[in-house]
């Protein structure tokens, strides 16, 4: 029942992302709080959780903001599923592991978005693409260093069966 906190956190991250994140953009590139959360939770709890959370968060973002529904969801789904599969073989609570996963995950996420945009015949500007992919992957992974231990703590709180009150 406590997993409701996870979903609330994701909704909060999306709202924050759409309203206040533009003030902390570096070189015009915003970090992606939703992506960090989804990667972190699927790293901690496996691919099943990754699929559910990416579907929940991705469809919410697509319905609220995007014209093509499924655009964010499919990229998130790919990243979360792969992270969940690979997480079996790594030390999950380590911040360094999360750093690497978020860095590579962000690159994959943006590449799959670019692929969808190519399919939709968008006129793309290669230097801008490169800028977004590089800056966002560095920015996201640096943010992960600071927030990952809190996500781990929240995750163990959500998983624990004990009731404190």
């Amino acid at each position: 029942m406590r997993s409701i906190y996870k979903y609330l956190l994701i909704v909060f991250a999306i709202v924050l992302q759409a309203t206040l994140m533009k003030y902390i953009a570096i070189l015009g590139v915003k970090p992606d709080a939703l992506l960090i959360l989804v990667i972190a939770f699927s790293l901690l709890n496996g691919s099943g959780e990754g699929i559910t959370l990416s579907l929940f968060g991705g469809i919410l973002v697509d319905v609220l903001f995007n014209n093509a529904i499924g655009f964010v969801t499919i990229s998130l789904l790919i990243v979360a599923y792969l992270t969940g599969i690979l997480s079996k073989n790594v030390f999950r609570e380590s911040t360094f592991v999360a750093f690497v996963f978020v860095f590579l995950g962000t690159i994959l996420y943006n590449l799959s978005m670019i692929f969808s945009m190519l399919l939709m015949k968008y006129d793309l500007n290669p230097s801008y693409l490169l800028n977004v992919v590089i800056v966002q992957s560095i920015y996201n992974s640096i943010i992960t260093i600071f927030v990952y231990k809190y996500i781990v703590r929240l995750n163990s709180f959500v998983k624990s069966k004990k009731f404190f009150f």
Binding site: V11, I14, V15, L16, Q17, A18, T19, L20, M21, K22, Y23, G28, V29, K30, D32, L34, S47, G48, I51, L55, L60, V61, V63, L64, F65, N66, N67, A68, I69, G70, F71, V72, T73, I74, L77, I78, Y81, M113, S116, M117, M120, Y122, D123, L124, N125, Y128, V132, Q136
Partner: protein, 276 residues
């Protein structure tokens, strides 16, 4: 039977991915009234986003005004000079308007310059990703908003076009988005072209004839050939480029509206063509 087909989760992911791609193909392009479920999701989250967005804006305005304090006096003097100059200009223009009307009457020229009616709206959120320049506003089908209506900023410059409409919120595609294209006109030389977003926050005007006299500083407005009302200001020409071997010119256009600090917009409600 290959081994990966026995993995139920993998098959599930593939099925979902196919479903999402079909959803993408179906919904891409916009211009629809969203389904009641989508409308309800937006209806729940819109008030929350509105609060966050306005808090963010007021904090940023506070810091911006602190930065401006030092230059206020100089700016005020400059603006007063501008006002005197413009009021002189205004009298002259009034004369021209009267003369124009008189001459039009003489020639029985039909006036097709219809006035636009607008509906004010607040921006509640921007697209969370880095790829698209879209934003949401707090008016929807309840307020008579339909897909494909033009959206202007508070000074009347063209900002975007309504794509999807919910009950009390709608999505707007900015003209600086890569997916947007607007038929445009150079006010001075009367050259037609298409203005498209270039994902850097600037606009590109393409399909300008090679013999055009388009120059830096020219004002670009919407032409009468698109679904937008004519004469909406898009921006100013910043640079004119000519590809070697190409038979057309291109121009980089700086949008007149400030897309970073948009807060209030107006939706044009009497468009020539709206809806499906």
């Amino acid at each position: 039977m290959p081994r990966f087909l026995k993995n139920k989760q993998f098959i599930f992911v593939i099925v979902i991915a196919v479903a999402l791609i079909s959803a993408m193909a179906y919904t891409y392009g916009g211009g629809r009234n969203v389904t009641p479920i989508e409308s309800a999701i937006g209806g729940i989250l819109s008030p929350v986003e509105k609060v966050f967005y306005s808090v963010g804006n007021s904090i940023s305005n506070f810091f911006a005004s602190i930065k401006e304090i030092g230059t206020l006096r100089a700016k005020n003097a400059e603006l007063e000079k501008e006002v005197i100059k413009l009021s002189k200009n205004d009298i002259m223009l009034q004369e021209y308007i009267n003369e124009n009307n008189r001459l039009r009457d003489m020639l029985n020229f039909k006036d097709n310059n219809t006035n636009i009616t607008t509906k004010p709206a607040n921006i509640i959120s921007k697209n969370p990703g880095n790829w698209f320049n879209t934003f949401n506003i707090d008016v929807g089908s309840d307020n008579g908003i339909k897909p494909k209506m033009a959206v202007l900023d508070e000074k009347g410059n063209l900002v975007g076009i309504v794509t999807n409409v919910g009950k009390d919120w709608s999505k707007v595609l900015s003209i600086i988005d890569v997916d947007s294209s607007v038929s445009a006109l150079d006010v001075r030389t009367r050259d037609n072209g298409i203005v498209r977003g270039d994902s850097n926050g600037n606009l590109n005007m393409i399909y300008i004839p090679i013999d055009s006299k388009i120059e830096k500083g020219d004002v670009i407005t919407t032409s009468d050939m698109s679904m937008f009302p004519r004469g909406l200001i898009i921006g100013r020409v910043e640079k004119v480029e000519k590809d070697e071997g190409s038979l057309l010119k291109q121009a980089v256009i700086k949008p007149e509206a400030d897309f970073e600090r948009l807060e209030f917009v107006q939706v044009v409600t009497n468009m020539k063509t709206t809806g499906d």
